[in-house]
């Protein structure tokens, strides 16, 4: 099964978390950073990334900045104040979900155990 379906629900959290750590990033950079961090296991598709970025921008969680790079325009995304607040909420939500999922998959599992 493709992991794309599993990633879909957490894509916004992934984007917000990456932007919290990197201040500002452009679309392609985000796909590459995720690939690098997961050693190629998770690949964010362009089909999902750009709609998610535009949605987060429209919701006021991201702001954009246009810069000229090598004779072309690059659109950088960064967190707004609301976005910065939202990262921790989204992270707790995701961590809680992963914990619950882990309990379902392995009832013997206890938080903190490897």
């Amino acid at each position: 099964m493709s992991n794309n379906n599993l990633i879909k629900g957490s894509l916004q959290t992934i984007i917000l978390k990456l932007l919290e750590e990197n201040e500002k990033m452009y679309g392609y950079e985000i796909t590459q950073r995720v690939k690098e961090l997961t050693e190629g296991e998770i690949k964010i598709t362009e089909g999902a990334l750009y709609p998610a970025l535009h949605k987060l921008e429209a919701e006021g969680l991201l702001t954009t900045e246009i810069q000229q790079v090598d004779n072309r325009v690059r659109k950088y995304y960064s967190l707004t104040k609301n976005g910065q607040k939202e990262v921790s909420a989204k992270m707790s939500e995701l961590q809680s979900f992963v914990g619950n999922l882990q309990r379902i998959l392995d009832p013997e599992w206890k938080p903190g155990l490897a």
């Binding site: 089909g47 709609p51 535009h54 919701e59 246009i66 325009v73 659109k75």
Partner: protein, 226 residues
């Protein structure tokens, strides 16, 4: 990582230009994605990788992306503009804003219909001039960034489109309210006692929205193509 050759860049420009995108921010974003990706591969792999990108960024997908972007940007602009309007009614600005609104509410009914129409026309004229200036400002910025584009589409910033749409909605509603009863042969709304209320509400809404959009433009113009 390498720099693409002039011929390769032209191929990318052609491929992106054929997608029929009219929003500069999206076009620039896709172009940057193509070039950033292709720079990671050798000249021999260029065609294969370009084709792979073309399979992902199909015209249909790009059009959908553009429509969604326009839709979301309109919602965002409306939200931001009203946010700025609300800020006008926070201390200490509220003193001046409330005084102006009260002055309009008090003096508007005292004006005759001709003067009310004149005031509306003056505000609509000012709105037109204001939006033309914003559009021109944006056009100048786009011109300097347009060198990567090979298509025939007239490019416009997504923010310009959403600013105009924000103004378009109340203006259309007002026009419909004024013209449709007359066209349908019912009555002329200008002759009814409600006209002063409708025209005053429209004057206030349009005036406040213009101020809100101006504030949003002041913020956005620092980092966006407006």
């Amino acid at each position: 990582m390498r720099k693409l050759e002039e011929k390769e860049l032209e191929k990318v420009q052609l491929a992106v230009g054929q997608k029929d995108i009219g929003v500069i921010e999206l076009l620039a974003e896709i172009y940057d994605h193509y070039v950033s990706h292709l720079e990671k591969f050798s000249a021999e792999e260029f065609e294969i990788e370009l084709n792979a990108l073309e399979m992902k960024f199909t015209s249909k997908y790009c059009k959908k992306l553009e429509q969604d972007l326009l839709h979301m940007s309109r919602k965002e602009m409306f939200r931001l503009a009203w946010q700025q309007v609300i800020l006008l009614f926070t201390w200490p600005k509220a003193l001046l804003s409330l005084a102006l609104v009260l002055a309009i509410i008090i003096f508007w009914p005292l004006m005759d219909k001709n003067h009310q129409m004149l005031a509306l026309m003056a505000l609509l004229g000012a709105t037109l001039v204001f939006h033309s200036i914003i559009w021109w400002h944006s056009h100048q910025k786009i011109k300097t960034f347009k060198n990567f584009y090979k298509g025939d589409n007239l490019l416009i910033s997504v923010h310009i489109s959403s600013m105009m749409n924000t103004i378009f909605l109340p203006t259309s509603i007002f026009s419909l309210l004024v013209t449709s009863p007359k066209i349908l042969g019912f009555y002329n709304i200008v002759d009814t006692p409600y006209f002063f209320l409708i025209s005053m509400a429209f004057f206030l809404i349009l005036g406040l929205l213009n101020i809100g959009i101006f504030q949003v433009w002041k913020i956005k113009s620092k980092t966006a193509l407006v």
